[in-house]
Amino acid sequence: MGFFFVVFALVALAGAVGVVVLRNPFYCVLSLVVHLIALALLFLLLEAQFVAAAQIVVYAGAVMVLYVFVVAYVGGGDRPAPLWRASARQRALAIAFGGAVFIELAIAILGSGLSALGGGGPDVAPGFGSPAQIGELLLTRFLLPFELASFLLLVAAVGAVALAGRRGGLGDDRDVSPGHSTLDLPVPAARGTMAEGVAGYGVTSPMPDPEFEGRELKKGEGV
């Protein structure tokens, strides 16, 4: 158990370092995939089988494919050295801050009085972390967060389409043909308005009478 933990933890940390240090964003993504797989193995050591499987399928699978596509589309590797153009002082500050966060957390963890932190945790039932247990929790105790999460996913999907869509949103204006938007749906000849009911099928609302409009305007001005 200890051996596997050391190996997986070292691989996970190496992947994390690779994400921060590597210059080509594509390699960063691949490094994160390595990191995520090692992390899923750590989850397995912690008896979280379902979360480990979800980590592999959702993260290392779907989300990373999305990243790879965007890196291939944007092509961030063209400009060299996006990493160390930051000034040396800024870099040193960032590293000092990250190190301070780590040391602070380490002091909090190692110095805590929680005796359970020192052990491997209690003995758990064989079904601990299985899909059956997670599913039961999600559909009973955590039903509201579950539904809210699904709603959040829907909102994010709509937002992503609106942001990255070719028409409307923030798209390049040159990509949009003039006078053509998502809202220009095909319109039937008869719309079922009251004007059609009075004047007959195919007659749209009549043009406003310019003289009448003028009279109204003049009357308004006179008063």
Partner: protein, 99 residues
């Protein structure tokens, strides 16, 4: 292995992610480093779930994964929109976000 070792690994991952967010300038890589920090939180949550012997922490971790997936979708959408408008994909040169 004691749970505290998992928490130490999680803390190291969080620190590395924080360094990456501050040092890197490509928004794609900043998103990747955010993922690192979220995953550090996930590892700590799973460790706590093991420590208490109930599944609540694992549910929290799953919810964190959902939120991270949403963040990725929106963030990558913004990056694609930036690229389409021929804006620089570099957080130091992006000084304004108005459409």
């Amino acid at each position: 292995m004691a749970i505290s070792w998992y928490l130490l690994v999680s803390a190291a991952m969080f620190g590395l992610g924080a360094i990456g967010v501050m040092v890197r300038r490509n928004p794609l890589v900043i998103l990747l480093c955010l993922e690192l920090m979220l995953n550090a939180g996930n590892l700590a949550l799973i460790g706590f779930a093991r420590m208490w012997g109930n599944g609540d922490g694992q549910i929290f971790a799953i919810i964190v994964m959902v939120v991270a997936a949403c963040e990725v979708a929106i963030g990558l959408g913004i990056i694609v929109a930036l690229y389409r408008r021929r804006l620089p994909v570099d957080v130091d040169e992006l000084k304004e976000l108005h459409g």
